[in-house]
Symmetry: C2
Subunit: 336 residues, 2 copies
């Protein structure tokens, strides 16, 4: 079993657990021979789902965990107390190097806390950011940080920029990715204290291709590949992407039902429109990595179906093969 990328999957996390999670795991091992999955959670429930499929039995292992952390629980408390929860058990597999990566559609808070407390930071990384991909007119951009690191300092943002750049280049295959900082104007002297402090530091980074400030208006055009901001702003951007997309779609649907003429038109455009809007749905790009940990932690959207779970599992291959954490040590921490 040498050379396999081993992924510990939280079978109990998300709106569609365990059905879609188990299905996604099966799809992943069927699609790539490089993957081995540990399905972590209530064994009986997982096994009864697994019975529905045929797959290489050697590459899916069930690891029992009797407890589940819900979205309503205070994350720090939950991680500390629920030692038998699927998240804690699965993360411990990564900590003990039995798995390379962890994937969950469960509580974001618990995943962020567990990532830090159980999997642990790479020595020298101040704060591990959560970095989802968001859709743009050109493809996708990495939004870093959308995590729990509110009230960040400029040194954190510089590490976010460098780690995000490594990820986009080596996992997503974007050559010399353009890095920008979210700001309220394009000029260097614009911004709040944090941005004004961070801007010159980024400008002096030789390791990244810093293109300056980005106004929120230009984020959806794909002007930058890596979009750096502190977590509060990142969260607003990510959530507004979701909310505004949903609102516009509901408006459009309502608008098209407003006359007979447009109702007929709506029937004709529906398939094309559906496909288009899907490509611009932030939740479609569910696999958000938490960067800078001793192992990969991937948070997929709570409403993930098997396809997103599968994609999140498969994205761990590039992460391991490209030795992202080694590159982070080299490029972010200047260690060889």
């Amino acid at each position: 079993m040498q050379g396999l990328v081993k992924v510990a999957v939280d079978a109990m996390g998300g709106d569609n657990a365990p059905e879609e999670i188990v299905k996604g795991a099966v799809e992943a091992v069927c699609e790539s021979k490089q993957i081995k999955v540990f399905l972590v959670g209530k064994e009986a429930a997982i096994r009864s789902e697994l019975e529905k499929y045929s797959f290489d039995k050697e590459r899916i292992e069930v690891v029992n965990a009797d407890d589940v952390i819900t979205n309503d629980e205070a994350p720090v408390m939950a991680i500390r107390r629920k030692k038998e929860s699927s998240i804690v058990v699965a993360m411990n597999l990564v900590k003990q190097r039995e798995a390379d990566a962890f994937v969950s559609a469960g509580s974001t808070g618990a995943i962020l806390v567990g990532g830090q407390l159980i999997v642990g930071r790479i020595k020298g990384i101040e704060r591990p950011p959560l970095a989802p991909l968001i859709p743009t007119l050109k493809g996708v951009s990495l939004l870093v940080d959308c995590g729990a690191n509110v009230d960040a300092r400029s040194s954190h943002l510089v590490q976010f920029a460098k780690m995000g750049s490594v990820y986009m280049e080596h996992v997503m295959g974007v050559k010399n990715p353009k890095v920008a900082i979210v700001n309220i104007g394009a000029e260097e002297e614009k911004g709040n204290m944090l941005v004004k402090e961070t801007y010159p530091l980024l400008k002096n980074c030789n390791e990244i291709n810093f293109i300056g400030s980005i106004e929120a208006r230009d984020i959806p055009t794909g002007m930058a590949d890596v979009i750096v901001c502190e977590a509060f702003v990142g969260n607003v951007i990510l959530k507004l992407y979701e909310g505004l997309g949903a609102a516009l779609i509901s408006k459009i649907k309502g608008g098209m039902m407003s006359s007979l003429r447009s109702k007929i038109g709506a029937l004709l455009v529906k398939p094309a429109l559906k496909k288009t809007l899907k490509s611009f749905d932030a939740s479609e790009y569910g696999g958000a990595p938490m960067l800078g940990l001793n192992g990969l932690v991937v948070k997929t959207h709570g409403s993930s179906k098997s396809i997103e779970v599968k994609n999140s599992i498969l994205q761990c291959i590039a992460f391991k093969e490209q030795e992202i954490n080694e590159k982070i040590k080299e490029n972010v921490l200047n260690q060889d």
Copy 2:
């Protein structure tokens, strides 16, 4: 001329000045007998535009100003040095009580600086916020602050909430407007330092109908009438509204052109779709008031056409008639 609402309009500001600005002023005085406009800017240019229309000559007065402040200029410097600019001359009319209000589609930075330095704050107001209306599924919400007040303190945000509430109730006619603070989770203990500090202060305000935190995802649904945040976050929300709307429309257009079937459908839905999308375009609600000044300052979108200019001028009527500044003194500063 007693009882008229007198509005000093910057005839030189915005992408379509002076043509659309002059046209909007004419439309405003034709639509309401309560309005008198001072058109401030290059006299010859304004007069040659005015010649195109017929209107009550007593209710439009041209005030010459030879200079123009552009979007590229550093605002503080521009306001201090360009004493003969249309913005400075027009704002001085408000300062000297010759006009009740000021309307401009020009440089946001210069308007914000001029509002503070020339028109001046109401005594006791710490920072005057810029408060645009943004479209939601239920109508519009007031986003306060989108101005230059970065790195705000909690006491500022409390004043924003109270002033925004007065504005929505008495200018927009929303009874007992729901006030929420932008946050990264719904629970009281969530947030960055500023939000955690502000939340209990808002909760203890008897003057407002505080409903708690709002996540960015819920802003477009119209969950709150007054959305409170500091200016950096407000700017990100406003600009992302614009950018994401534009990106989605461009995606949708592209998607509908992808097959013959959808092309035919597109022709049929086009009028309904256009109307729908227009109603969800943040730039359509151009008249953003700057609150807490000795007079009303309204910033309209840089690309405003005559209709937005007219609407911005007409909105000054309610502001004066409802004695908004008196209500701000009562409700925000607890003065009688």
